[in-house]
Symmetry: C2
């Protein structure tokens, strides 16, 4: 039970190409995956920084989750994702603890992962994602 | 060169005890270190979540870096810290790349680490910390 690791830090950006370049130059990041996912309104790049991972998220339009975040807060940290073994079991545990869930059931996320988001109000202002390999 | 891993996610919180309890209950976090550091204006708890680490930061006053952050943004993600091998060398590289540094030289951070912060403007809105073991 519980988080096994930080899977990635999600970062909302205005310009995906520029951000990929910045993270490569400054921190030695390498692109692991990149995809445009119209039904989630996002173009995303998953970067490896050694054993760490940063997921850069650019919006496909103003009326998308990332677009609304960028309009309200500007570019910056968007969410933290924890890797878990059994996503359904973790969600049942969170519900049991009274945590406010955005996704009550696992759903397909980016790059073939199963994911569920937990509301920032449940974790002291941090939008938290649970991630499991499908 | 470059980041070797995500060392921790830094989270600003209003109530450190409540946040430690929340992260333990929801995500199975265990306290690794806890300290009050008056000259940094912060009370901090380092939590392990499996192989991951979250650093909870509570302010010791309104006129501190974390106090000002909380007043402006509210509780939530504050910074990401990357582990590096040679901090001085990484800082020289960042300066060479024109990145805006908050700390141009390594300085003592929390829990015995050597640290340096990189301005959010350098990394698409993300306050980034480089961490090395002393």
């Amino acid at each position: 039970m519980g988080a096994r690791a930080i899977h990635h830090l999600g970062v909302a950006v205005d310009d995906l190409d520029a951000a990929v370049d910045t993270y490569a130059r400054l921190f030695g990041a390498a692109v692991e995956h990149r995809a445009t996912v119209p039904d989630q309104g996002v173009e995303a790049a998953s970067l490896r920084l050694g054993d760490g991972r940063v997921e850069l998220l650019a919006s496909l339009g103003d009326d998308t989750p990332v677009g609304r975040f960028l309009a309200k807060r500007g570019p910056g940290m968007h969410h933290i994702a924890y890797e878990v073994r059994d996503l359904s079991r973790e969600l049942a545990h969170l519900a049991d603890q009274g945590a406010e869930l955005i996704d009550e059931q696992p759903r397909p996320g980016l790059f073939g992962l199963q994911v569920a988001f937990v509301h920032p109000d449940a974790a002291h202002g941090v939008l938290s994602e649970l991630v499991a390999h499908a």
